[in-house]
């Protein structure tokens, strides 16, 4: 029996301790916003925050997530609602499937770096593939969110 804290809610889940966190989140916690894209950690669709760090949930055995704070897309509204609003406002998503992972990676970036440069964005976001090609708008959305969250903006 694994005890998992996802979006500040504790789930008691009885699964194989090797099961990747991704499938526990999707099939057992019923949170389907976190997506399967490759199963090998290279596309970023399954990205969640674990104790604040972005991780590929398809590679993390559930045993390694016990006792950690897991944040999925469903919990982002309590973490960075502005970013979600900007995402909608700039019409960033196309098919939307990779966007949960993109947003989680962006939340992690903005937590550590309130005013990221293009290079910072490249570094933080290059693990997330978007087959529709929304990169340009993701970049704009991160900059805009930083501007809105950054008090210096008002002085500009």
């Amino acid at each position: 029996m694994a005890s998992l804290k996802i979006n500040n809610k504790t789930h008691q889940i009885d699964v194989d301790s090797n099961m990747p966190l991704l499938w526990v989140i999707r099939d057992f916690a019923g949170l389907t916003g976190t997506k399967y894209g490759c199963g090998t950690g290279i596309c970023g669709s399954c990205t969640v925050l674990m104790d604040g760090d972005p991780v590929r949930s398809c590679l993390i055995p559930v045993s390694a997530a016990e006792g950690k704070d897991i944040l999925t897309i469903e919990g982002v509204e309590n973490e960075n609602k502005v970013l979600q609003e900007v995402w909608e406002d700039l019409n960033v998503p196309q098919c939307g499937f990779c966007q949960s992972g993109q947003i989680i990676s962006a939340v992690a970036l903005l937590k550590k770096n309130t005013n990221p440069s293009d290079e910072d964005i490249d570094t933080a976001m290059s693990g997330n593939i978007c087959r529709c090609g929304t990169y340009q708008r993701i970049r704009s959305a991160i900059h805009k969110t930083a501007d809105l969250n950054n008090p210096k903006t008002e002085l500009k």
């Binding site: 194989d16 999707r26 057992f28 939307g96 087959r131 529709c132 993701i138």
Partner: protein
Amino acid sequence: MNPIQKVTRRSFIRSMGLASGGLLIACNFPSSDEKNQKRPFNGSTFEPNLFVHLKDNGDLVLIASRSEMGQGVRTSMTSIIADEMDADWNLVSIEQAIGHPKYGNQNTDGSRSVRTLYETMRKMGATARAMLISAAATKWQVDKSTLITNNHYVVNTANDKKIFYGDLVKEAAEVAVPENPLLKDVKDFKYIGKGLKSVDGAGFASGKPKYGMDIKLPDMKYAAMARCPVTFGTVKSFDKAKAMAIAGVTDVVEIPRVAKPFGPLGGVAVIATNTWAALKGKEALEIVWDHGDNKVYSSETYDKMITDNVHKKGKEIRNDGNVNKAFKNAEHVIESTFNLPHLVHAPMETPNATAWVKEDGTCEIWAPSQAPQTARDNVAEFLEIEKEMITINVTFLGGGFGRKSKPDYVVEAAAVSKAVKAPVQVVWTREDDIQHSYYHAVSAQYMKGGLDKDGNVTGWLHRVAYPSIASTFAPDSGYAAGFEFGQGLINIPYQIDNVRCENGKAPAHLRIGWFRSVINIIQSFSVNIFVDELAAKAGKDPLQFRLDLIGNDRVEESKSGYHFDSAKLKNVLKTVAKNANYGKDLPEGHGVGIAMHYSFFSYIASIIEVSVEDGKLKVHNIHSVIDCGTAVNTDTIKSQMQGAAIFGMSLAYYGKITAKEGVVEQSNYHDYQMLRMHQAPEVHVEIINNNDKPTGVGEPGVPPIAPAIINAIYNATGKRYYSLPLMDHGLV
């Protein structure tokens, strides 16, 4: 037969009162889609049909009959109805249609949703508006000549009285349907052309929309399939013991191949209580395969064979004048050979479907499908039940790009559900997706061109060989189909007296299918590069050379109703040159490349600036201009053009599927790579503003990208490349 299928060229609209206290309007108009752009062997021939549902509280539910896969179709289609209806967009909600012929053609492909349904949707909205006005006239006992509408209200201009649409539902249901409702003047559009935000944007940003894989049913099982590594190979024998030993695995069953265009490949299915157990079970299977006839397929020898086939005379496809004579009399003759590999769609969401073949003999399916009616037809054939017993629910699609036009994965889910008598979700792994797709064709092309002493093109020979999409549907002749030649081979936009096009043999050994932009990718590649080569040989500027080669202003009539207008092509070319500041001084090591292409009846030109430093390519910026007639949603069009540029860069950089002894050699995003954030340039898009009928948007942005990059590399370095992907040339 459904009565709607009997409607031929005659338009009709009908209305019916709803028990729930609403007004429902259904309508059906002839499609203006052209015959030779329709895909082959598609049984759907009836006309499009859409639904409006206005509730008595004013809520307006518009049904989206086409599938949402990122192209914004749920927003663009419904905004047209709402505009003509003068509806308040804030009161609109969208419902996704099930797959059913009553909605008309639902195939979401060919960049045709808005293109073919624009007029229908306008008339549907206008009809609703006219009926609401008549209803108000009846209610107020006034003449309707003084009545207008304003944002969900009917207003009497004589006395400024107004009434809410929702309060007119009962009366409107009694009104006779007008034959020819008045359409808005385009200057009065309030949603069309305004770049409305996606109706699904907030959902996408919060992880809420349900894609195929997000469907959960009570007692649903999960399945993973092992399929023969070689196309159409079969199971000889298998041992399920190790799979069954995995906790959560409940069944292992053999699923036979269904030898139809959209039949499942067959294999061994592992059924489990969760996805992970099914995937582990699949890995634990011990299967002996019979690889079958396609084990002869190795890309290395095959590519040589089709290249040989374009180096000799092929089947004549087009012949104007006399190319041999032109080459004989030419000042310069140049020849080039082009090779492009197979590609695979690799949408972020792999194929998957949830099927429930129920005890009562009915079947319900949830699938991310671009072709829900085709799915329904194929499931009905497989289960040998009436189509009316099958419900296909269309989920959001995590990308499609043509892969999800082929419902083999939907039939497969039905087969597994039938076998285990339970609702089952069949999930394809990324490896399954990349190794068992319907691939974009591998190709070889040969081109020969003649120039006179003034640098005019006097002769043009173009030979192509690629396994045909038709091979998926009929016995393979080894030759391509007419619709494939129409994608940039026989319909080049240039005025040249002597033109010959030929087709060389290329039998298929994989399932070949549509991929975003289809054969336009192949033929745009060679044509755009070859024109650049001719310009260089003629010593002319590549931009002016193209403008001259397009020739005089002319409109070429087409029975499709979409007439090629050379002035529009020249206009996008001139506009993109202006936007890119073509001719500007470039930094050392930089170069610019031009390409243009006419596809899905839209005109596109792109200019790309690159640099090559220490042998490594960087794309600095992309300018694209599109003329797609009326721009229904300007922001969506920009988004599609931006995405198309990235899609084109991905295939140019990395796109390569190869086979060895029939087995696809790539398996996941590590060896079938995608462009990533750090490589993505700014893509600047201009939409030519006009009120002509709308043409394609989703696909036409892709074909110019790869050749423009090649031409830019040439401009930067003097070196010309004739094949993709660029990673094979060490450039990326």
